[in-house]
Point group: C2
Chain length 355, copies 2
DNA sequence: CTGAAAGCGCTTACAG
DNA sequence: CTGAAAGCGCTTACAG
């Protein structure tokens, strides 16, 4: 009686998909193994919640079907997307490469995907980008400079957030100790005979630029030498280039730029203006980005542990994500900075060692 | 009778959330405006499907509640995540900065998020990463070198995919025309008196490395000069450094590296070995990455339009995503490469112009 | 240990 | 133009 036109309506078995998207679901596995979908879910989730035998069957079926849990479907009931956002100001700034790599490593290692978004050095864009990405992620690493502390605190109240290279009250921060490297830099310049140092600052909104200047100022005061702040300027090659004139006018014999990019711009402009580095002007930067070693003379810089900073920022976010506890206590050893002396700094002109 | 212990059980009104996550939902808007949630969904989706009046009310309420559609929830019924993946081999290779920026621009401009994943120059990792990210994205841009054409074609059969800097039958590719810049480079070297050129190749699996070598070989043959391939080598600074010995041994007077990073490594090693560039050895690379201009002497290179390539790759994926049509026809003007002559190439030693 | 049910927040035929 | 319902693929109390 295999008659298709049987009067009796076929019992409507709720044949769950084999979805058009093609991807197998837990229903396929359930069908294949003869268990309930919820059992499949349990077996594939935390182990030990299902008999070893059933679990083995289910895992085998999952493997056979090449099953992957649908992250979207999982995110809905759990509220967990297993995705983190890293917001940077400018993707093309080499500073971010190592930071991104560190964050990537830590995120991937924990089974999280990392969405990288760029705020294009604009405060409004920054806020928009964050607002837009927020619902898709479990937490955020913020490595930008334009947002106000109030906005940041507000975002932190909504999602786990870690800021990099700045401090905001009540928000977890990953900031290397700048003192060590920076003081070493000023001492180094002092020993080379410099008695007047210019600091070329970055964006006004940059907490880190402010911080670096403060330390330079204090170190200069302690040594009894002159220090002057020039800027603010764009934290880019051109920001550095455009500042050369003011640096020269300051009569400082050494200039420390907010970052390596600016320092390099300064050196390029100096070369074009036939100002010899370091004989006539010593130049130093911060971060030790790719290229610092390549430029000629190679750039003296205060190196930051960027890869580790990226990793740590992600670890911090993840800790907040899982503990759901707002109180994120940090017990990790302090991150610090280190002076790398290269050819761009030398004896002060007119001093006892000058040629 | 406001007695809590009222015997009559309270009618369980299905009070829809005001979710713990805090984010407002379309149910909140529906409640606030007195319409059905489905109407809210329609009003906020494609316009014109709801009366202007209702839509206005709904939009006002949405704005008031600061509503953002939950991308996960939307992805489930639609299958669209509004997220794209960009897979790169090595995030710290400056080559990718401009590519990433272009991709970012195009994606963000289209309302898509971009997930960046790194495959760490390993074929297995590459496959894993892709497999893992697949369910979360609507399409993929692949800028890696390790995957076999078969694997790539297989992936392309499952999701919209665009490959960058390589060609795979049946898969949309964004590849700049290498001929122009490369031929110009060989001509330039020829005119400088070079009669023997070495090509330092990248990974064996690199389609683009092969392609560049082919063109150099053909150009050299056409000019009647010698060309030799050295390698394969790692597409990194150290890959370049380690190859110097073999380059010298080849007696070629000019070396063209697979990419700028390798060319720079070669120059660093040359400097350490007191081999003067370009007087004793001319060096050139590909891509014109950040740093090429900074190294001394500055690097002669064949520049690729990386930002535009990134944009175009995303546009290509998006086209496939929306047309759902496998036949992606490309009508865009060809992308091309351009020779940038800088200081690292000069007259061949021993030639009529040599010092 | 396992099944049945409800729900995550949205979309989309299906009626009207 | 709008409402009611079903469903996307998963998770997780609730029973047993």
């Amino acid at each position: 009686m295999s008659d298709d036109s049987d009067a009796e309506p076929q019992r409507s078995v709720p044949t769950r998909r084999r979805s058009p998207g093609g991807a197998p679901t837990i229903y396929d596995i359930a069908e294949l193994t003869g268990v309930n979908p919820s059992t499949v879910s349990r077996a594939l989730g935390k182990p030990g919640r299902v008999s070893a035998k059933t679990e083995a069957k289910i895992r085998a079926a999952a493997a056979q079907l090449n099953f992957r849990v649908n992250p979207m479907a999982r995110a809905l009931p759990t509220g967990r997307t297993h995705t983190l956002a890293l917001i940077v100001a400018d993707i093309t700034n080499p500073l971010f490469f190592r930071l991104v790599r560190g964050a990537e490593l830590a995120a991937t290692g924990a089974g999280y995907a990392l969405v990288i978004a760029e705020s294009q050095e604009s405060g409004d864009a920054e806020a928009d980008v964050i607002e837009q990405i927020m619902p898709s992620v479990d937490g955020i690493v913020l490595a930008t400079t334009r947002l106000s502390p109030e906005r940041i605190a507000e975002i932190a109240s909504r999602k786990p957030l870690v800021v990099v290279n700045r401090e905001v009250v009540g928000v977890t921060a990953v900031v290397p100790g700048v003192e060590r490297g920076t003081q070493a830099l000023v001492s180094h310049l002092y020993e080379m005979g410099h008695r007047s140092i210019a600091y070329l600052s970055g964006p006004v909104t940059s907490w880190m630029s402010e911080r670096r200047w403060t330390i330079i100022l204090e170190a200069a005061e302690a040594l009894g030498i002159a220090a002057v702040e020039i800027g603010p300027a764009s934290p880019t090659l051109s920001g550095g280039r455009e500042a050369l004139r003011r640096v020269i006018a300051s009569r400082a014999t050494a200039v420390v730029a907010f970052n390596d990019l600016m320092a390099m711009g300064l050196m390029q402009a100096a070369a074009e203006a036939a100002v010899v580095v370091p004989d006539e002007l010593s130049v130093a930067g911060f971060d030790d980005i790719f290229g610092s070693e390549l430029i000629s003379p190679a750039l003296t810089t205060v190196r930051a542990p960027l890869v580790e900073m990226g990793q740590r920022a992600v670890v911090g976010v993840l800790a907040a994500v899982s503990s759901e506890d707002d109180a994120v206590s940090e017990d990790m050893p302090a991150l610090t900075t280190e002076l790398i002396v290269r050819g761009s700094t030398g004896h002060a002109p007119g001093g006892p060692f000058s040629s």
